[in-house]
Symmetry: C2
Subunit: 223 residues, 2 copies
């Protein structure tokens, strides 16, 4: 079972377990069972155990998992035992909101550079990050050893941005623009689209009986 064979479903849940574990650590809890982790992340105990078993045996039968230990293990599995340097392209409303989102830094994602094409924005600083001209993208990303990029541009600029990020050595991209973006197969791409999520709610609320609990696979309920 190579890391390659782990499904994204599992990875999303590992992040959710991590979230629970952080809360448990804050609360001073030392041991946790698969049932508690399941309750805290909206899944089942069997699912928790199966997910973890893909990477090893971390619990004690009849007892559960050590919170601190499992937390560190999951961080290591997810590659969070280091800092990631991220580039942000697009300093509009979403871009600036992200710059102000302290959780990124707190969780190990440092926005090392921000870019825009608008002369009005270039040179301004937001939460300690100065917006640069898009022309400087390639040079800056190589100099700053950036490995991830966030696209927060208008839709029309998204594909170009993705291409340039990849060209500059980025291998992971989070796309906030509501358009399809193509990247080479060795680059990992994820997308966030608020309208798409709302459209999902719209469908659910439109169902014949109105409302309703549907299966929620992709975006884990409660995220």
């Amino acid at each position: 079972m190579s890391r390659r064979d782990i499904s994204e479903f599992t990875i999303r849940r590992l992040s959710l377990y991590l979230r629970s574990l952080r809360e448990l650590r804050e609360a001073g809890t030392e041991v946790v069972s698969s049932r508690q982790l399941a309750d805290g992340s909206g899944t089942t105990p069997a699912q928790v155990r199966k997910d973890l078993s893909l990477f090893g045996s971390f619990g004690k039968r009849g007892r559960g998992y050590q919170v601190r230990e499992l937390l560190e293990t999951l961080e290591s599995i997810l590659g969070l035992d280091r800092q990631w340097r991220v580039a942000l392209v697009g300093a509009g409303k979403i871009g600036r909101a992200l710059l102000g989102y302290a959780d990124l830094e707190r969780r190990g994602f440092r926005v090392a550079a921000a870019f825009d094409t608008d002369p009005e924005k270039i040179g301004t600083s937001h939460y300690g990050v100065t917006v640069r001209a898009l022309e400087e993208l390639e040079e800056t990303l190589r100099a700053e050893q950036v490995e991830m990029g966030i696209i927060a541009t208008p839709p029309a600029a998204a594909q170009d941005t993705a291409t340039r990020l990849v060209e500059a050595g980025v291998t992971g991209i989070l796309n906030f623009a509501p358009v399809k973006v193509d990247v080479p197969p060795e680059v990992t791409l994820r997308g966030v689209d608020v309208v798409l999520e709302l459209e999902g709610l719209s469908f659910a609320l439109t169902s014949d009986v109105a409302g309703g609990s549907r299966r929620e696979p992709g975006s884990a309920a409660g995220g």
Copy 2:
């Protein structure tokens, strides 16, 4: 096949098809094949046909689908042939970025009210929406006939907010706070968590071979 039995996978893809169809309409294209729709949304022609077949037969063999007609059909299926009134709770960075996000209105989601607890924020206006005191939530939501809510509060306030939204008659919630939120089964909940997405990238970039094209089920690639 009741609407209830349609998986969220299918619904997410319908939104993606819709995105493609809107672009095609802009471009003046009148007919589209399942192959083109698949290319435009990162899936396969068979998947497109299967998805659509769950709701009826909308195409012509040997020819394809009428762009305008299919677009209207999908909008109707998703419940987008009307306007939805949405409440926003939390006028922080994310909340205000959403208020300024014109696509919401353009796609039929009108932010009818915004709320916060911060006296500094209450009374201020952003993009035409005035921030009200949280105390007014129930009253306002009933008066404005709001059916959807967006939680953009700090994590600690998210569950309380959800409970109050539900109490005020909301049956669809989009949660931006990175905590688990519980709602009754008749309420539909979706979550967006940027850190969780970045952690997914972190895992992919940490894989033994570095980078890599993994299956991307939940968040449609390119979203």
